[in-house]
Subunit: 199 residues, 4 copies
DNA sequence: TATGAATGAGACTTCATTCAT
DNA sequence: AATGAATGAAGTCTCATTCAT
């Protein structure tokens, strides 16, 4: 299916892996070039300098993470019979996005390097995701399954309720979580959400 | 009032400032020593090496942050007439803890260096804070002001609802927030909380 | 005649000179790089670290010294008319090898760093030299010029007799010797040798 | 018997041990002070600086080594029935002096630091030892047991013959020797000596 | 265009040496 | 006289970056 990635992509993937593992300052361009199987000057001629390479690599990483989140939200079936179960599935999947190896690496790098590279903020499509989720909730409200006066606000709240604990408990992906450590907060969050907004 | 801090403390304060500004890898011991007004070997003879210095500095930073959070939670008056206002004040104050210059620096460093320095996890007293908050909620429940079957669970949820947006919107303290960006989510969070758990 | 030596060789020559002058611990890589006319990282990328550089430099030094000794022994003419004179020439030359600037530097470094760098022992071709000399003595014995039951043993003895004093008197190359300080022991040594093994 | 050594002596012993183990450059004053159980400034106030301390420590070490050698030579019984055995015993004992832990350490330091500290040459009583041995040989010659025209010269030769191999084979005390590696050259050396000078 | 080799700058760390007590 | 703590200087090593091929 996937064609063998070209040089540029290979470099970005390598950069993402190395920066994700070692951080920006400790991730070495040498290491990246070696991992990508190219010579160092190739990296420089393609991407300028380490900072630009980092921003490009993060664009790739954020893109992947964003797509995954969008897919997860997209899969919320607003016409399901069992709404609670559907919301819980959404919550599990979102938590998984946050604590997964790759997902959490991107988050960690955004947090730790957000100050130095303000551009990283532009790569974060959080607002878009909330918009998407708000749309779903609005549909559920229209259908009379929920009573939601402000869907955007509800979307933010649902997101916070189902992901906050996974992030905190895992140390932003640093420590592995048991199934229950993910499940319990999600179920509790959905429960609270339905209590407040349920019809 | 406060006596001039001794050398050891001055070094830790300097380390916290420098690491908070530049991160662990890019924060230089030279810079820390200069900031503390001591010679570099003094730093080494006191703290061993850069990693140990970092852990010690983070202990100081976490201690400060923890104390502040504990104080904020402690100030929640469970016998207030206006419960909503009291919870909102709590939410504002907690958000402020997370996005403040020093508080967010500690959080960023915990996130970015948590992998390299697993000890940082031990400095995080999140569970203790939640216990404290759960106690307050249990009191409110006993007093009939709220209906809370599981106070620990409710504490987690309240914490998530009132702080998640401030953290996300500020880029973990990286970008300044308008008053409203803090207030609105807090008010919404408290509202949801009271809707679900209110008597 | 000799082409300008390449970078690697220049570095090794410089290292040998610096280590020979200052010892391993006090010989600085900075100094070596400057002497070789290259930048410090060039040294590191070529040779790994200071220890490996030292071992490589010693390999070069030992190689030179060994070749010289082998040549000296090789030049012993077993068919000469004046055997005493030939053996004395050999003794002078060997002594010269031991107390010469470069030769003694190698010896000093082998002695002082032999513990830390056990590999240095492998660079010492003393046994090979003795084998060579033993062969010559065996020839002389076969020709009836000497009566030598055990040529290896005799080779060791001759070597000891003609070099021990030069080494000791010069402080392993540390102090200059007068002609006579070299000549007298050599002559005495050869004399003893011929007295014992002469036909 | 021996009173508990005073502070000064304890420092010198410690210095000798540390320098002997690590060399002059790598032997640290900190380490010496710790080993001696005193504070660093005590070392400085007593001995001036590291170089002076080294020279003093070497004086102690050389003194010990010299005394031992003098005792060994002194024990050569010129009226023994079995002269060969007596000379061999002398040779073994001298070899042992050269390759023993402490003896070889002193030799290595003299070799490696002889250039920097020319004073070390004055601590070497080699000529005195040879004089002592020459006296013994002269007695043997007078008694008709040996035919020695020049006792000083013979002393030098005997010394070289019986110690050179032990020193070379052990890498100046760096590598352990088997019994035979010491014995064989000594026996061979004495044999040669007796062949040449025996009556 | 891709690379092997080179470099300037700077980081961490250690040590001999000295104050202040 | 002895010490705990402090420091200036220096050394090894690494890295982002650039020539020359």
């Amino acid at each position: 299916m996937t064609a063998p990635p070209d040089r540029g992509t290979r470099i970005l993937e390598a950069a993402l892996a190395v920066f994700g593992r070692d951080g920006f300052a400790d991730g070495s361009v040498d290491d990246i070039a070696r991992t990508a199987g190219v010579a160092k000057p190739t990296v420089y001629s393609r991407f300028g300098d380490k900072g630009a390479l980092f921003v490009s690599a993060m664009a790739l990483g954020a893109e992947k993470a964003n797509r995954r989140i969008e897919q997860v939200i997209g899969e919320l079936d607003t016409r399901t019979a069992d709404l609670r179960a559907a919301l819980e599935r959404l919550g599990f999947a979102l938590s998984e996005c946050m604590v997964s190896e790759e997902g959490s690496a991107v988050v960690r790098l955004q947090v730790s390097e957000g100050r130095r590279f303000q551009q990283l903020a532009d790569q974060d499509r959080r607002e878009a995701h909330l918009e998407l989720l708000a749309g779903k909730l609005a549909l559920l409200s229209s259908a009379g399954r929920l009573q939601i006066p402000d869907p955007h606000r509800a979307a933010r709240q649902l997101m916070a309720l189902v992901t906050a604990d996974a992030i905190a408990l895992s140390g932003t992906g640093t420590r592995p979580l048991s199934e229950d450590q993910i499940d319990a907060p999600v179920r509790a969050g959905v429960d609270l959400f339905l209590t407040a907004y349920g019809s």
